[in-house]
């Protein structure tokens, strides 16, 4: 079968110790039986490794930070599209999703398709809205509360027992055992990711995760359950294994069918000793470990591209249990010329 030529733009090329999902998503697409993809990387920083991984990324363009707003982003995307004629764009960072969702119609008008959650779906699964989400969709969630001031920490004892979890609105989470630690983490996270900070009840158990893809009509196109086997000091999985856990998959199907989730997602769950599952977070995009799903038999990045193009997709029903991923670091040797080109012209 001849593969369909296609141009796909993807961000999240920071394949570092806290990796973005860009390269794993691209690996899935590269292995597609249907698509012969030209990959356009969208980079925020000059040293995002993916920009220099020419086996994976054909051409990279620097793009403005999401904090500069949707207009600046769209202006740059329009220029890139005038050169590259992008068919599908896959944003892979939580922090940029809002800007891309707001620009989805504008992108479609110039021929760029996306497959993103709606603004409503994106907003209601926010960490700060998790208790309402749990109530609305009948999902067990830890009690949580957003705070915006250091002085709120003194009042936490009215609602929480220590330890509790201090979380940033996009990234980072720390367990605080007393109010001094809570204040320290409040300052650390708010300096990096802004306010509010979300305080969450600490649930004792094992963290397990699901990567999934919803078709936007309530159907789960694919879902793979995983447990982290090795966790870095940044809380990132450095090794993980696929699980045979029907309860996790049932919960995923329930959430996708109830919310009619559109796009990739990662569920972060805690399984308690009583085998209860608590939803602690929904990340509204494919996670950095998505290539494990590809390796286990579900090419979710490829399925996402098909959905974006409006192609029919047969849902995945199974995957291989006991598949392991082990992350590794690798020093690429690059010429100064390449770094200079990306730094000065914004293209590589």
């Amino acid at each position: 079968m001849e593969k369909t030529k296609i141009t796909i733009a993807a961000s999240g090329l920071n394949n570092i110790d806290s990796p973005g999902p860009g390269i794993p998503v691209i690996r899935g697409i590269r292995e597609s039986a249907y698509f012969d993809a030209r990959i356009i990387g969208l980079a925020y920083e000059n040293l995002e490794p993916g920009a220099y991984m020419h086996d994976h990324v054909d051409k990279t363009y620097k793009v403005p930070y999401p904090s500069e707003g949707s207009d600046a982003l769209m202006e740059r995307i329009r220029f890139i599209n005038s050169v590259e004629h992008i068919d599908v764009l896959i944003p892979n960072f939580d922090s940029e999703l809002y800007a891309f969702m707001r620009s989805a119609d504008a992108m479609l008008s110039i021929g760029i398709k996306t497959f993103l959650p709606s603004l409503k779906q994106f907003e209601e699964r926010h960490k700060s809205n998790l208790p309402d989400f749990g109530k609305k969709y009948n999902v067990r969630v830890p009690f949580s509360k957003p705070i915006s001031s250091l002085s709120d920490i003194d009042r936490l004892k009215e609602d929480f027992d220590y330890p509790l979890v201090v979380k940033g609105k996009f990234y980072d989470a720390y367990i605080a055992h007393n109010k001094e630690q809570a204040a320290m983490y409040f300052n650390r996270i708010s300096a990096k990711w802004g306010l509010p900070i979300v305080i969450q009840e600490f649930i004792k158990g094992t963290e397990v995760n699901v990567v999934a893809l919803g078709d936007g009509f309530g159907q789960t196109v694919g879902a793979v359950a995983m447990r982290k086997q090795y966790i870095t000091d940044k809380g990132k999985a450095w090794g993980g294994i696929t699980l045979d856990d029907q309860k996790m998959l049932d919960l995923t199907n329930h959430i996708i069918s109830q919310t009619k989730w559109r796009g990739g997602m990662e569920l972060e769950l805690i399984r308690t000793e009583k085998n209860e599952l608590y939803l602690i977070e929904i990340n509204p995009r494919l996670p950095a470990w998505v290539y494990l799903a590809v390796g286990a038999g579900q090419n979710l990045p490829e399925a996402l591209v098909k959905l974006a193009l409006g192609m029919p997709v047969e849902p995945y029903k199974t995957y291989e249990v006991g598949k392991i991923f082990i992350r590794y670091s690798y020093d690429m040797i690059c010429d100064l010329q390449e770094f200079m080109k990306l730094s000065t012209t914004g293209e590589l």
Partner: protein, 84 residues
């Protein structure tokens, strides 16, 4: 007691729980005992089979078996009858 559903045991003594993702290594005797449990033998029968085969005091083996079974239950590899 019975082995939890889906537990995979290799010939080399590698044990994998696909529900939790946990894996364990058993030595040769541990593997032999686990296979006896899998076949449906109770602790009394296992004690009789092992003490008949190896040079070990029955009272000592019972103690070791009790510890081993407790450990298997702790790691949720074994379940009491009727839990599945």
């Amino acid at each position: 007691m019975q082995l939890k559903k889906n537990i995979a045991i290799s010939e080399t003594g590698f044990l994998f729980d696909p529900g939790s993702g946990d894996s364990y290594s058993l030595n040769a005797v541990g593997l032999e005992i686990l296979n006896l449990i899998k076949e449906g033998n109770d602790q009394k029968k296992i004690t009789s089979l092992i003490t008949g085969k190896y040079d070990v005091e029955e009272s000592a083996f019972e103690r070791y078996l009790y510890d081993f079974v407790s450990s298997l239950k702790h790691h949720q590899i074994l379940e009491e009858d009727g839990e599945n």
